[in-house]
């Protein structure tokens, strides 16, 4: 699985970073960085929580090609 960010929606609320700080980072310029290319099975639950917590619903999880 990989994480897709809808940049039209993301407003740097940092909810993802609070839920999964090793996967999501919002920098000093309020830009969101996804730190992993693929979501490991161990990180899956935490990332799903981050996806749900985004108040703008800007994140989604999609299957790898």
């Amino acid at each position: 699985m990989k994480i897709v960010v809808d940049r039209d929606r993301c407003e740097a609320n940092q909810a993802c970073m609070r839920a999964a700080p090793d996967v999501f980072q919002v920098d000093d310029n309020d830009h969101l960085h996804v730190l992993v290319a693929h979501v490991t099975p161990e990180a899956r639950e935490k990332v799903e929580r981050a996806v749900r917590a985004c108040p703008k619903q800007a994140l989604s999880l999609v299957d790898d090609e």
């Binding site: 039209d8 407003e11 740097a12 609320n13 909810a15 000093d28 309020d30 108040p55 703008k56 619903q57």
Partner: protein, 412 residues
Amino acid sequence: MSHDTRPQVPALQFDPTAPDLDVDPHPTYARIREQAPLYYWPEARAYVVTRFDDVAQFLRDPRLSPDPTAAGQPAIDDVVSAELRGPMKSSLMRLTVKDHARVRRAVSPALTPRAVERMRPNVQRLVDEALAPFAGRDAIDIAELADFLPLRVIAMMLAIPSQHEAAFRHYGEANIRAVDPRLTMEERGVELEATIPGMRLIRALIAERRSHLGDDLLSTLIRAEAEGNRLTEDEMIGLVSALITAGSETTVHFICFAVKSLLCVPERAAEVRADPSLLRSALEEILRYDTFGKAGLTRYATVDMEIGGTRIERGARVVGMLPAALRDPRAFPDADKYDPRRDNGESLHFGSGIHFCLGAWLARLEGELMIQTLIDRYSDIEPAGEPAYAGHPVLRKIVSFPVHVTKPARAA
């Protein structure tokens, strides 16, 4: 065959202006929420969803739009004065998804958690200013205290002179009354006529600011407009209008209920006094546990779709009853219990999805600084009477709430 395709759902009997909706609304919302997932509210000509998951879908589902024209329904613009029409057509609630993202982008960088945190010293200064008239007194009217702050904060951000605040308070109040889902188009039009002086003032302020650009948010918006395709004048006016309206009343009531249901409840106050790091989540829980909103928000079905387990037709109005959802035991364990440590990360009190409250972080900062300052200045705060409510159709609006305050004993 019957041509009446309306699904058989129970009729909602609900009077937002009933006194118990102000004083203790939660038994009413619990009864509505537990008896059925979906209602038809005749006075509002709208379906009503009440349960957490349905209200979450209501907020997030792209097939539900706040724009009636997207659902083939007439919009309010047709019955308002020409000078209100342009900004209303270009407001965040009326733009297409793509334009909506572009216009929000003009203001959202100023309201991120990081940007709002930089405003802390300025907001603290305004909190101190709000409390100054009460210095040396042993009684405070919390409604009067709270009323000062949110509009002053927005005015500071936009660099609007304080002499205009009364006009903008009136403007914001009329816009909020017009949200009442029971109003007909004509009735909403009448409410909105009261916003014309405020709208003229916004236009005048923008015209004046064009030749005196500064580092305030209004100047930032004017620069975005000047850059060509980023913002039209009507979009800018619509944004400023939304900031003033959303900033004028909502946070006032957040502060009132935080004093009433946190600081004036001795065991809750003792907990946040003993552990200041608890204040943020204690206030977040106030927004869930004792929300100031009443019926909720209105959306329109842009296609035939299912909500609350029932098919509804394109063009149907739907109201999401947020206060009922925020106490839904399906989503919150012990939903009727106030828990200052509750994880409200997935709650809906600031909405969810593309229309998520732009001012959420600003409201949180204002609430935190006002409540923390009251805690720091007074060792005890207790009600000196029951709050008086306005019987407002949209908000549990407290018009006066006297409390006794006690200064800490002077340290030896």
